[in-house]
Symmetry: C2
Subunit: 165 residues, 2 copies
């Protein structure tokens, strides 16, 4: 994981982050013969405007502005496609969606979510994944899907809370 994919890294260059995500998405969809249509690309771009997970309904106004239909099914369809391609993840504990920095190979992320600034980072989850697999295997349980969402305070917000409550 490169530092600049981390929302709370001090050296985070977000424009680079967005550009990279979109370029990668186009490339991946081309390779997989999947159609990254204007709506889908716009939704992905909107989600990548920040590292804060966005709710589906928060995306609708921007879709309307761009001249698209802005009824819920439009955005949910785009999100469904993006999730299938691994380009975004859904955060179950927030009912919201966030861009995936590593869509090359399908996976389910583990997330650190700051309750104060809402910034969310995807963890490189090998050890977490291993711990889950092991606990599951001990009970004979076959793991198919993992939802790992950790809420707390990012480094920046720890400082902020400390100084002004």
């Amino acid at each position: 994981m490169t530092t600049d994919s981390l929302a709370f890294a001090a050296d985070h260059n977000h424009q680079h982050c967005i550009d990279q995500a979109l370029t990668l998405a186009r490339q991946i969809c081309r390779e997989r013969r999947q159609r990254l249509t204007p709506i889908r690309e716009l939704v992905l771009k909107l989600i990548w405007q920040s590292h804060q997970p966005l709710g589906a309904y928060e995306l609708l106004p921007a879709l309307a502005e761009a001249g698209f239909n802005s009824a819920p099914p439009t955005v949910y369809r785009a999100l469904e496609f993006l999730q299938q391609q691994g380009l975004v993840h859904r955060i179950a504990s927030l009912n919201a969606f966030v861009g995936c920095p590593h869509p090359e190979h399908p996976h389910q992320g583990s997330f650190l979510i700051c309750r104060r600034c809402r910034s969310t980072s995807e963890l490189d989850s090998a050890s977490i994944h291993a711990a889950l697999e092991q606990s599951a295997a001990a009970l004979g349980f076959l793991v198919e899907q993992e939802t790992v969402e950790v809420t707390g305070l990012c480094p920046n917000c720890q400082r902020q809370e400390h100084s002004h409550g």
Copy 2:
């Protein structure tokens, strides 16, 4: 963790499980000077009827039958109280609630959820917790809340799927 708190254990005695949960709940609330009112106790009992997480709206008919008001706020209030006391957990990925077998000390569980029979077991999550803490600490992130929900197939359902698709 005793075997009989595990939903997919072969020797699971569910009536014992329910009785134990209710007895423990009464004891805990007494100790904490919290009121386990009839509605709250009924909701807890309903949730413990199975190890399948139940949605809030699934509880309403039974509340109505028991002569209580059955508007949503009634059940959400009871669930909020039960969660605060650690007697039930909310499963974010299902929007549903499940009984907690170890409410004595507050914690947030890790769950194994069978996608076929919906049975859900709470893991003793020390190693998972440690892995999360470690990953978070490496980024300077302060953990406050953990949502760990693993979906897959329980041992029974693995056999079933294998034999009749």
